[in-house]
Symmetry: D2
Subunit: 269 residues, 4 copies
């Protein structure tokens, strides 16, 4: 179980999310509260959007708390839209290619959760990828594969639907392989314009997801657990939700993978 935070709004130094709040992402790398594992020391990464369509990417295998480069970069780089992640491996090796976020063209993606029985499903799922996506796979994590499947199933056209199809394909592959379908998925991703997030699980234990405004003048944060101790400021996102942060003030939360999808259930402005 990893920890992550994403931001959309007026330009902010990365450190305002990664390093500065009392329960910042770096603090969570050392001692998370709502994660299955307290320590998230198996690497970290940050993807941020600047003046180019594609994001910048800095990932490394040290624990976030001890990386001096991360400290310096997050003090210098300002961005209106970024994703940051600290990793607790559920199996894959600690290598840069297994660290989140993953990036392809203008898209970035990061994840907390897992695909159950991944060893049994990996091969069948990789076979769904077109050649040009297949060769983009550099690591061995289920997270990277979820991202590539979303690209395969139309992330560019319809982000929510591409994720629905990805979940369906994983479920079908589990059935084919004769193992129970088991997915826990709390992810954030962006095309450089909007910020998306999802909270979903096939069982009742979807990993936590919260949103908040960091300060009156700041934009919106979506996080796996609150960045400060003021719990009342952080709105929990219900399980099985798809979140679209449209701009620094406006967020839409829709049901995800419900029996009948009936449109937005909650829109805050």
């Amino acid at each position: 179980m990893c920890r992550w935070a994403a931001y959309l709004g007026p330009q902010l130094y990365l450190e305002d999310v990664i390093a500065s709040p009392c329960h910042s992402l770096i603090a969570q790398s050392h001692d998370a509260h709502e994660a299955k594992t307290r320590t998230n020391g198996d690497g970290f990464g940050v993807a941020w959007y600047g003046e180019r369509p594609e994001p910048g990417l800095y990932r490394d295998i040290l624990p976030a708390w001890s990386d001096q480069n991360l400290k310096s970069l997050s003090r210098q780089i300002r961005s209106h839209l970024f994703l940051a992640h600290v990793r607790a491996s559920t199996g894959g090796a600690t290598s840069r290619t297994n660290c989140h976020p993953f990036v392809s063209g203008k898209w970035s993606f990061m994840h907390n959760g897992q695909i159950g029985h991944f060893d049994r499903l990996r091969r069948g799922l990789e076979a769904k990828l077109d050649d040009e996506l297949y060769v983009q796979k550099l690591g061995s994590t289920d997270s990277e594969l979820i991202f590539l499947l979303m690209l395969q199933y139309g992330l560019d056209r319809d982000p929510a639907q591409s994720l629905v199809e990805t979940v369906n394909v994983i479920t079908a592959e589990a059935e084919r392989a004769g193992v129970p379908a088991f997915i826990r998925l709390t992810a954030a991703f962006s095309d450089g314009i909007q910020l998306y997030a999802v909270r979903y699980a096939t069982d009742r234990f979807a990993p936590s997801l919260y949103t908040a405004t960091l300060s009156p003048s700041s934009g919106l944060c979506v996080v796996s657990e609150p960045l400060d101790g003021e719990a009342e400021n952080w709105m929990p996102v219900p399980p099985n939700s798809f979140v679209t942060v449209k701009n620094s003030k406006r967020i839409a939360i829709e049901p995800f993978m419900a029996q009948e999808t009936s449109g937005p259930v909650l829109e805050s402005a």
Copy 2:
């Protein structure tokens, strides 16, 4: 193009091959003579056989010349059979999982060369692997895949034949993909008992391969280029040869992938 050295014979400190000769493997990491690239600074690795059936493995991403751990380990560890490798990437990322040797059970494998158009062939070749081999793939190199294909095609039963089939499968996949088959392959591998090597290419430029006895009392070395300046001590292995180092005194060199395989052409004792 990488550089490597392998040894079978009476126990030797690893440093006697890796660090000590005037043109040692560490020296070649900084300045190789017969390689396409002079610098082999994209990681290194060593696999050695000790008291267990499976080999020990130490790989890292620093250049071999600056790794203090390698210096200390190779001063302490003695082995009768080991493989050592310095890497010059032809594309894959610099990560431990992309460094040679690769290990599976009792087998170890390392390689200098490449599969042409690998991006076009990778997917079809990976599909040849059984599930239990498929999930062993941790990196993204053609070298690791060659090793897994050899395991797939009977490395345990008949090492030379498993490599013949691997080459044939790569060639067939190239044909299927509509690209010219292009393989350059100088590899060494071992099951902990014998040491095998191959020198092969689909064109006239098979990467170099030599054998020699390091000293009157030592065993046999197989290397991608001589470890010292005394060229007359090093016997070049002809292109398209399969080498079996049977013990510290005896080596068999057979034709590999010839039109008709007519048995050993050279056996030195």
Copy 3:
């Protein structure tokens, strides 16, 4: 606060101490029980004695729990005498040169604890070193400097006395600098023949130290906290003690830095 374990006795695979017991050193890197910090993820190291007078040394900056090299090395290497350490930095950067054990000639040393106000004392303490010791300093930790001071004050002649003088020099330097003397020191060190340890603090909170026999046929372990859950097997060493493991069955525990040193208080055989 770091965690460490040292062993003297019949040859053992390193993994029997580092990886195998239920609360092994690798397990403690992720979740220590008696340390001020639960996570010891700022690098690790192992020094072991083999066939040479000087020890082998493997140190790296990843958390011990995720280092595949450590897993493989500790499965292959057997030793009758070794020191292993997982680090939780109290300030210094995460670099190999700041990881324990430190090695000089035949000596190895590792440490849990700290010198208070080290920034104010460092310069004066370094000035005590002879030129040839001064240039051996590669990192910036108080631990490395304690080791070099012990070498300066006769570690080769009288290990306990060299440590007494080191403590006295640190105390005097604190007085000179106008800061309260504050030392917490639980260390192990060896010359390749005997294994020494110390538990000491200037206040009442000397970091914990235990000894035990791992199994009826094994030798003696000295550790910062027990390696398994069977607390009754582990004998706590009293504060302000100097421990000499003479062989796999015999250990002497003497008072350290007491008002009057009155010889061994406890010798178990």
Copy 4:
């Protein structure tokens, strides 16, 4: 012998200097032409000035040519003033703390060259530092110490003079230690406003130094060797010169450490 490049002028993506020209700094990390060592694979670093008075700093121990983070960062970060360095160690360990540039407050510094007999002089030179500078020393290189000595001798007040005094102190310390004074020094440094460089040696072999305008609209580069093949664009700086890049069009080159300093010898606008 390392390679480096520094820039002052209208904002430029770092990659325009680090990665893009045909003989870019990354290309030089693999194959330098005018350096004593062709390979500069012992780490790299970049310091850049943005919206804060102190520079950002990214340093790592991989060869620059294989670091994906460096590629991404240098594509995203734009700066009007930056220093970039690829390292070939002349002795010190490969660690982040030994990589250039070094940073202290608003100042950044990088270096190609060496102090002869540094092991004999290091201790005496470190003793010249005030306490607050002494504790800033994190690594073990002569380069970091030169930078700290410059800070000690008034870098803030008079950059050229602080370097004169540093050279004099090193020379005096060599005399005191009974070794010949031997300094080769080609360095660049900045306070975030102006860019300074020096080319100096106690013998006739001061490491090379060049300046050029990258393009009609760009600012000024100061480099250890030209970034492209068009040698005629690159003006060699004479040995024993102190360079001040005042703005993107104006550079002053004065004699450095000459018998009588007679003011600017060359000013180009």
